[in-house]
């Protein structure tokens, strides 16, 4: 009798245990994202466009009309020594002062939570990624760098005007891309220089918590293009530098500290 009771109790217990075993739902997927905003400043203030209100370190009075540029291969450097390359969906981002939609990059990648020491990116594109005609549509399409000058795309177009030595307002195309080494200018090009460079953003450490989205602002401080380590004088380099590797080299070296970051 006891055995029977024990068996019944066991059966009931097993049944309860069996039916109470609900299938556990999949744990919710943990996702962390970043949103990169792009901002433009000049001497700490928001950049004003189309007004001759700025003076650079060389004493040039100048204005900025528009800026277009590419950054690529953004890397988040984790404090544990690992690196996270943003390329799940796209690895190149285009920014255009005339296209507000480009000022915000909602990054597709699911980024591991953790502490990050800094952020770096390539200004422009490395040689292996700078393919001619890879952008068939505007506005990126219109950043093409002429084939005979090395092809691919401009890293940046910073277009503006300055008050030249003759007190005339002259346009400058502060354009960066593939440079050329000339045997005899302008016809005999013997080599090309890929001027893209890595930017390591200062003070860019941040924590990314689980299931969070981090807003990060990349700020281009425009005056810095013209002041350190080289004083850039428009009266020396004139308005057009696409075929002047020396000028572009100055721009590249000045460009290492152009960007800052805010969270």
């Amino acid at each position: 009798m006891n055995k029977k009771i024990i068996n019944i109790i066991l059966l009931i217990l097993i049944s309860i245990a069996f039916f109470s075993c609900e299938e556990k739902p999949d744990p919710p997927e943990v996702e962390q994202h970043i949103v990169v905003n792009f901002d433009f400043r000049n001497n700490g203030e928001d950049q004003e466009f189309d007004t001759m209100m700025y003076v650079n370190e060389a004493g040039n009075h100048y204005m900025v009309n528009e800026i277009q540029f590419f950054i690529s291969d953004v890397i988040l450097h984790n404090s544990n020594g690992s690196e996270f390359l943003i390329d799940d969906w796209k690895d190149i981002h285009y920014v255009d002062t005339d296209v507000p939609a480009t000022h915000k990059w909602v990054v597709f990648d699911n980024i591991p939570a953790g502490e990050y020491d800094n952020i770096s990116f390539t200004f422009g594109f490395i040689e292996e990624k700078n393919h001619s005609f890879m952008f068939p549509n505007p506005p990126e399409r219109d950043m093409f760098w002429p084939e005979f000058l090395g092809g691919g795309y401009h890293y940046m177009k910073l277009n503006g005007k300055w008050l030249d030595d003759n007190q005339q307002i002259s346009p400058f195309d502060f354009h960066m891309g593939i440079g050329q080494i000339y045997y005899s200018y302008p016809d005999s090009i013997i080599d090309f220089v890929h001027n893209a460079y890595e930017v390591v953003l200062p003070n860019s450490s941040f924590d990314l918590e689980e299931n969070s989205t981090k807003n990060i602002s990349f700020i281009m401080n425009i005056e810095k293009w013209f002041e350190s380590p080289h004083t850039y004088d428009h009266n020396i380099w004139k308005g057009y530098i696409m075929q002047n590797q020396e000028a572009m080299n100055v721009a590249c070296e000045n460009g290492h500290d152009v960007f800052t970051v805010e969270f």
Binding site: D88, K90, D91, K104, F108, F133, R141, F144, E147
Partner: protein
Amino acid sequence: MSKKDYIRIFLLLLISISLSKSIQSQFITNIKGKVLDINSNNVISDVNIIISPDNIQTTTNQNGEFIFHDIKNGSYTLIFTHISYFEKTEKIKINENEILILEVYLKRKIRYLQEFEIIKSTEKDNHPIKIESISKLELLKSPNQDIAKTLQSKPNISVIRKGGTNVDPVIRGFKSTQLNVTIDGGIKIEGGCPNRMDPAISHIDINDVEKIEILKGPYALKYGANFGGVINIKRKKPLRYSTFKTDVTAIKRFESNWNGNKEHLSISGGNKDFYFLLSGNRSKYGDYKTGNGEKINSELSKYNYSAMAGFTPFKDHNLTFSFDRSYGRNISFPALPMDERTDDTKVYSFNYSGNFQNKTFNKVNLKIYHSEVDHLMDNKNRSFSDTVVAISAINAKNFGYRAATEINIGKGNLIFGTDFENIKKDGDRNKFFILQPNLPVKNEKLWDDAQITNFGIFTEYSQKFKNTNLIFSMRLDQNTASSNVLELKNMMGIPMYYNPDVNSEFTNFSFSAGVNHDLSKEISVGFALGRGVRSPDMTERYIILLPIGYDDYDYLGNPELKPEANNELDLELKYKNKTRGNIIFSTFFSYVTDYISAESVPPSIIKPQTAWVVGVKEFINIDHVYLYGFEFLYSSPQINNFGINFNASITKGINPSATKYIIENNQVIDSEVVKNDPLQEIPPFESNFSAYYKFFDNRIIPEIDIRFVAAQNDFSEAFEEQKTPGFIIAGFKCNFKYNDNLQIITGVNNVFDKAYYEHLNRKIIGSSQALFEPGRVVYINLVLNI
């Protein structure tokens, strides 16, 4: 569908049934009979029989039999007519409670012998495999001169329109190479354009066609690998006479709206030993106006010439050679990134048919063919050609054969054979960057010496019992594919994309079985089950970045695709009544495994190469999708010279788990899974109603038709489709047969000049606006036979 739509359909049904009921007779006796050839004693099908003075008519079936129900007592004249026989009249008298049984013999006007093809078993009555056909007369009466567009008169057949012509057929949601388009039951053409501006069906002129057969489902396996259906275009053949004789046919067609002119001339002749057919066609159309007056770039110019010649070395053994050269020039496709500049197509074929008149060993048929398409297209008429002019040139070849034998096994009929198809495709796109100094040119391969070979063996067994037809069919395909590596190079010749794994080989097994059973003299039921396997096609395997889908993406081939398989079940109910009319209801369910679809590829892996597109999609297999739907047809009896037809159909397609990309400010920011996403490019519910009246012994037959298409609210989110509004259009046509030599067919399509577009019409390139259909078109065909 809205409530209004249901009410409209219900009213149409009600009108159909009430009209048919109103023309039912109140007679009380019967006439039965059989019509035979006076010389051969063979039965004659399709003989038209009219009872005068009541003008009730019927036609003989495949066994030469005819029947009249409930004829009143009295004296009548029966008039027997057939295109190949002299007319005959028989006077009869019907007495009360008498069933009159007649045997009528007709004499041939001329004796001619047609070649046969081993496809006979599919033409039987109550065949378990669903077969629909479009006759020469229907083609002439059609308001459209695109062969595929004429198929739209059948339920659950739609077309994808990208321009004024060369529309691409869709049957029950299956399209492109999911359909087996074959010419004369074995000849294949591989279109040149990756965007299917020249599908195989567009390379044949409608005036060279005698009949089109449509076999829905994966059941007919003897024409080649079949996944979703077969379209068999039967070309005109030379007539063979006992003594040498020639026929001349001339057709002149004009269409208003787009100033369309089309001409056809053919000369056919021969005797019992030698026969020939020479044919030529020319078409020139301008831009058409939509119902809202908008002009659509749709101009086209086409011409072709063909010749067919054969001889009979021995009695019942025929050898036929044929070639067809066709040319397309400046054909506009406003919904594609390019227009066709030139298209030169050659089709050569050889056919042998032997009839052994043996009790067991019946027939042998061999076809060998070669077709080649040189296709040139460019974007010079597109707005984005102001920065980049792109010119593509593609060469597509198809060589193959089909050999079949038919034997009798007991009461059954067995067909077995083999077929072979070798497709070669190669093409380039040259992009001229006209914004830049020195006009740099970038060369890209679209296909790089790609090749697909398919070798198949097939068999089909059919047997007819007293009330039951059975058919079994199967085929085995060995499919191999190769290409040069898939790569996209930059201007320096360095690969930006590289895929060396390009070869694949598959062995595919397909089978089908069907049964049709007569439950009574009036009701029959059919059931079919089949599995059709299709290896990926040339585009799905090897295309290198071209926008070929409905959405704005460049597509990338995937050599590692697996074959997709359609597992389909069909059920058909037929009700045939001489006084109430005929009703056919068909329903189907398809479970497709390894369905070939496409998914987005990030620009970090590969970037699009075509202006205006937003990204790249690569072909992939998805686990499964399913499609289902029905077709309903009603045709009234032709009583008192009046008749009506009605059909309605719908297909639904479901992808249980699709990936949708979330786009904000032109950036992909996330993706999500859409459960039960409708498949893309599936047409909505549609119904057609037509009514005709036959005047003066069938010499004048006016006909009105109304086409109702519901809004398509089941659209694919993953493929960024949009809802399409419904529409109703009306048409009118009239067939006037002046005598045996002259026939005039005229009509008006879209009588009320309605502005509308089909769900499957592509968008005008670079916009979200759909390509509208033509507005009102008045057309006339003059047909002269000498």
